[in-house]
């Protein structure tokens, strides 16, 4: 027996290829949407991996530092260092902002880290050029995605920093590239007010009789001094000693320091289940709509192609073709259309993925699922056409 479906596709290949390409672009969009989601998850994991931490210590009752804001005193880490199982602990701050670069702004996550030796938590893990921050002030290490070059000057708030090192795949959970600066600089940047605001605050403080007491000289100056330094950080990153489990080390810190401590697994859960949950649902919605649209397209095309062949189908039935053979022919055409679409879609997604501003991660397993879903959609979509074909009366072939 010959393949009726195959012959029909070969005969009217133009129609099939055009429809297949249209369907393919739609499938390309679908695969890309899945890739955007995977990219977000991967960015989240990269953020956690690159922080080099085993535990995140944050403000009590918060989901910080990525999913919620968290604030700790910058001397808390000393106490943590003394806890059992703790190898290293380092302060870190995160601040998402526009970093000025010449005439343009680059949206970045400015990370304040303690300058120190390699392997210190919070530091960029490896550099592709340049060196780590060594001085306490005005040096920066940037992710290549910022497009900053070594030696260039960038502006964070009112201060100018020199780019001394470049790193890669260091992004925030929303995909913004990171710029690392010294912790002290970052604390200042977070807290920095403009001159008018400072003047305004000084005036208010001096007008407050609680602080400006004639009998207590120096009090006003001390208060103003304490108002203009920032002693908080967003989290303390902790590395544990070999032989300890993260839970073992976390428990005493939680209990005795009355702080929130997250392990790597909990942090990943927070990022993926809470932080990007809404975006994931958004993407899920898109996937559902795209699946429905693809199904509608396949169903419509196959239905139209079948209606165009009613007379041939009547003849086939008249000369004794079984319903099974006719249904098989239509279903194979739907599946064939789906395959053309899948190939086109995969190529399209692979081609355009690198041009997306955020990371698009095309996982083979998603493609496999997409293929499977597409085949199911094609088979279901052909049902309508098959029903129409089975209703055709062989008497129509004879005519009047």
């Amino acid at each position: 027996m010959i393949s009726l479906a195959g012959r029909d596709i070969l005969h009217s290949w133009g129609k099939f290829v055009f429809t297949g390409v249209g369907l393919g672009l739609l499938i390309g969009v679908t695969l890309t949407m899945a890739g955007v989601y995977r990219g977000m998850v991967d960015d989240g994991k990269a953020l956690l991996d690159n922080s080099g931490a085993d535990l995140w210590v944050v403000q009590k009752d918060t989901l910080g530092p990525y999913a919620e804001s968290s604030s700790l005193y910058d001397d808390v880490y000393r106490g943590i260092l003394g806890m059992p199982g703790v190898a290293r602990a380092a302060n870190v701050t995160y601040l998402t902002m526009q970093v000025r670069h010449g005439e343009t702004d680059v949206r970045s996550m400015v990370v304040g880290v303690v300058p120190g030796g390699p392997g210190e938590p919070g530091q960029p893990g490896y550099l592709i050029a340049g060196r780590q921050i060594t001085r306490g002030h005005y040096e920066a290490v940037a992710d290549v995605a910022t497009k900053f070059q070594l030696g260039e000057r960038i502006q964070i708030r009112r201060n100018i920093y020199t780019v001394v090192g470049l790193t890669r795949r260091m992004v925030s959970s929303s995909g913004d590239p990171m710029v690392f600066i010294a912790l002290k600089d970052a604390q200042a940047a977070q807290f920095l007010k403009d001159n008018d605001a400072i003047v305004h605050q000084r005036r208010r403080t001096s007008a407050n009789p609680t602080y400006n007491r004639p009998g207590v000289p120096g009090l006003l100056n001390s208060v103003i001094a304490s108002q203009s330094i920032n002693t908080s950080v967003n989290a303390v990153l902790v590395q544990i000693l070999p032989g300890f489990t993260p839970a073992e080390v976390a428990e005493p810190i939680r209990r005795w320091k009355r702080l929130q401590v997250y392990t790597r697994a909990q942090m990943e859960d927070l990022l993926i289940r809470k932080l990007i949950a809404t975006s994931a649902k958004q993407i899920g919605m898109f996937l559902v709509i795209l699946a429905i649209v693809s199904a509608a397209i396949v169903a419509f095309i196959i239905y139209t192609l079948t209606l165009g062949k009613i007379r041939e189908i009547a003849v086939l039935k008249l000369i004794g073709t079984k319903n099974r053979t006719i249904a098989g022919m239509i279903m194979q055409q739907a599946v064939g259309l789906g395959m053309i679409g899948f190939v086109v879609g995969k190529i399209a997604a692979t081609t355009w993925a690198p041009f997306f501003p955020k990371y698009v991660l095309l996982e083979p397993v998603d493609a496999a699922w997409g293929f499977f879903a597409l085949m199911v959609i094609c088979v279901l979509a052909s049902v309508l056409a098959i029903r129409a074909a089975l209703k055709v009366d062989p008497a129509e072939a004879i005519g009047g």
Binding site: R7, H11, K317, L318, I319, G320, D393, I398, G399
Partner: protein, 245 residues
């Protein structure tokens, strides 16, 4: 027990029910011997196509009896369980328009029937090409139907009707779109084939050009048939065409 042709007795067909019912056949009697080509003529609406559809097991008669040789296929109800198989193996159809499958080449249009019956592709194509040779269209064997002339298409459709060697061929106005020379050629082919394969052939026609060729004609008027000797002598069988076989 040998093949004794088509036998139709008291065949009735009513379309619809109640007020709108149409009695298209009101008791048709007909016999066609193996190897015989009979004409079926009658005015429009007289029930010719209805009769072919009943005999072709495409619509169900209302009453009567039909048999092909020893096999009763209808006797107040179908006596055959698989009508598609009956159509595939026992009946060849030729229509006014050739109705070839546009996405199959000429050979496969003909070979499709034996393939559907489970004959291996190569064997089915061999049978098809033999018939195409007999019908003088073998040189177009690889062409697509849309590349053929009307007469060539009609010959291919005759090859398709013949390829499973059915004992019966039903032709509904097979010469309508053809000029008289081609129309006569088609009738000659049907006569040749009937003779060669012991096929009983019924040709429905209005065509004045070919009516004189039938030895026997059935007239149908208001759903009732009348037999009449035709003026034609038929055709002498052109057996040389099948020398290849």
């Amino acid at each position: 027990m040998h093949w004794q042709g088509i036998k139709i007795e008291g065949l009735r067909k009513r379309y619809g029910e109640g007020d709108t019912a149409v009695d298209a056949l009101k008791g048709v009697d007909m016999r066609v011997a193996p190897g015989e080509v009979v004409g079926l003529v009658g005015p429009s609406g007289s029930g010719k196509t209805t009769l072919l559809k009943c005999l072709g097991a495409v619509i169900e008669p209302t009453a009567g009896r039909m048999s092909l040789g020893e096999d009763v296929i209808y006797d107040q109800g179908w006596k055959i369980s698989d009508l598609r198989e009956l159509r595939r193996d026992k009946i060849g159809f030729v229509f006014q328009a050739p109705y070839l499958i546009p996405f199959l080449d000429v050979t496969d249009n003909v070979a499709l029937l034996p393939m559907l019956a489970g004959v291996p592709n190569e064997e089915a194509r061999k049978r098809a090409v033999e018939l195409l040779e007999a019908l003088d269209v073998a040189h177009r064997a690889k062409a697509m139907p849309s590349q053929l002339s009307g007469g060539e298409q009609q010959r291919v459709s005759i090859a398709r009707a013949l390829v499973n060697r059915p004992p019966v061929i039903l032709a509904d106005e097979p010469t309508a779109p053809l000029d008289s020379e081609r129309a006569l050629a088609v009738i000659r082919i049907l006569n040749d084939m009937a003779h060669r394969f012991e096929t009983a052939v019924i040709v429905v026609t209005h065509d004045e050009k070919i009516i004189p060729t039938f030895k026997r004609i059935y007239h149908i008027r208001d759903g009732v048939t009348y037999e009449e000797a035709g003026e034609g002598r038929g055709f002498e069988p052109a057996l040389d065409k099948f020398a290849v076989k």
